[in-house]
């Protein structure tokens, strides 16, 4: 027999979906800013393997010479992004939802199992809880990263008034790199998140929209 089961509370669904356009605007405006001094690359010595970002990438997205525009959007929408994240943290803390989300001592081991299963290296099914260990680690990390973006961003934006923070983060240039790496982390998270949502199917995605999941339950014995 199939049955509806409440899964995601309304507040979490709204905050999750509101975060999507806000984070998009922050990443987009951040890219417009980064373009003006796009110096980061991965490589060995003088040999650069990947440059962030190649010109074709900037050309494709049309981000060149839009620093002022990027800064304005970034410094206005940062408030909405931060407030949305803060409301989420407060809600999960007060409602008790954090119990499903925060990793425990088994999460790491479980996350490895889930990963092996998802890569088709193990047949052991992930536990049928709301969030398995991999999800707990991912969804908690992303909140810690959000806090990191606010802290590193503040250290760049107000590097004199919050100079102690800039100093603790290793200085102005270091804070800028950290801020960039966190942004890259969101993109990475987003890619895996989308892949997992597609893999999990409609019933799972629908539960983030409606709040309800259709579950099979065994018929009670007559």
């Amino acid at each position: 027999m199939k049955q509806l089961e409440a899964k995601h509370p309304r507040a979490i669904r709204w905050l999750h979906w509101i975060n999507f356009p806000l984070l998009t605007i922050m990443l987009w405006s951040g890219l417009l800013i980064y373009w003006a001094n796009g110096i980061y690359s991965i490589g060995i010595g003088r040999f650069s393997l990947i440059h962030f970002f190649p010109n074709w990438f900037y050309d494709l997205l049309g981000v060149d010479h839009r620093l002022a525009e990027g800064m304005a959007w970034h410094f206005v929408f940062m408030w909405l992004f931060a407030i949305n994240g803060l409301v989420y943290v407060i809600y999960t803390a007060v409602s008790g939802e954090w119990r499903y989300l925060v990793p425990n001592r088994n999460s790491f081991r479980e996350a490895i199992q889930v990963m092996l299963h998802d890569l088709h290296l193990s047949k052991k099914e992930p536990p049928p809880r709301k969030f398995n260990g991999a999800q707990q680690i991912a969804y908690t990390s992303i909140i810690v990263m959000g806090a990191g973006s606010i802290v590193t961003g503040l250290a760049i934006w107000k590097s004199v008034q919050f100079g102690w923070l800039t100093y603790l983060l290793g200085g102005y240039e270091a804070a800028r790199l950290e801020h960039f790496l966190l942004a890259a982390g969101y993109v990475l998270f987003f890619g895996i998140h989308i892949a997992q949502v597609l893999r999990a199917g409609w019933n799972n995605l629908r539960s983030m929209i409606t709040g309800y999941e259709v579950v099979s339950v065994k018929e009670a014995a007559e």
């Binding site: 509806l4 002022a68 304005a72 959007w73 410094f75 590097s159 100079g163 709040g211 309800y212």
Partner: protein, 236 residues
């Protein structure tokens, strides 16, 4: 029964979500299409002004920009030659109110040296050693009344091609210098000889080179880059 139920809930949720998405898109389009104020849609300009209020209220003279040891000084970098001549006018004077001052008048003030980070709004930074007079000392000697009765400071190059506006609080900060030396040597033409502003509280765009005039006002002075879409305050 369950299938009908979930279909009904899904329809309702997608409708709500669709309306929310449309509202968001409409808000975004509205924002982007607002008349420009200083080359920005005006609501964004309002947002920057609110940030400025917060910054102004929170900032304090006791919080100093980080200073560095001499070993941290980096190779200087030139960016921006607006309002600069290749050759420095030998008859250069600094005009403030009715006064016309020479470099010797500035050098007569107590000399301050500091090694701070010049941060370009583009995102790079350079550690520079500055030598010059504190703006607050300069004002105390040459324009005490104007400074006391006004809220803003305006600086411009001699040809007025480049100009910046400063809030008085930032201008009077102890690390705001009228600099005539850079890395131990007199300023070169491309770094703003004979006298420039060194204000580590602000992005490089506010560190005006080759100061021609200084004026005080109670209305916000025009600012070259603020007119082109940048934040007027542009401070750390």
């Amino acid at each position: 029964m369950t299938d009908q139920e979930i279909s009904r809930i899904t329809r309702r949720s997608l409708l709500t979500g669709g309306i929310a998405a449309l509202a968001g898109t409409a808000a975004w389009k509205w924002l982007r299409s607002r008349p420009a104020d200083g080359n920005l849609p005006w609501p964004l300009r309002v947002g920057l002004r609110i940030n400025e209020e917060f910054s102004n209220d929170y900032s304090s003279d006791t919080r100093l920009a980080r200073t560095f040891p001499a070993s941290a000084i980096q190779e200087s970098r030139e960016n921006g030659d607006l309002g600069l001549d290749d050759d420095v006018d030998p008859n250069w004077k600094l005009n403030i109110g009715d006064l016309s001052l020479s470099l010797a008048d500035i050098k007569a003030l107590p000399k301050v040296e500091m090694i701070t980070q010049l941060k370009c709004i583009e995102g790079w930074s350079v550690v520079v050693k500055w030598g010059g007079a504190r703006f607050r000392d300069f004002v105390a000697k040459y324009a005490p009344n104007e400074a006391a009765s006004n809220a803003y400071v305006a600086l411009a190059t001699p040809d007025r091609e480049y100009y910046v506006g400063l809030d008085k609080k930032s201008a009077m900060h102890p690390q705001t210098l009228l600099a005539y030396e850079m890395n131990g040597a007199p300023l070169t033409a491309e770094h703003g000889a004979p006298l420039r502003l060194a204000i580590p509280l602000k992005y490089g765009i506010k560190n005006l080179k080759q100061i021609g005039t200084i004026a005080f006002s109670n209305t916000r002075p025009p600012d070259y880059w603020a007119e082109r879409g940048y934040d007027w305050y542009a401070g750390f």
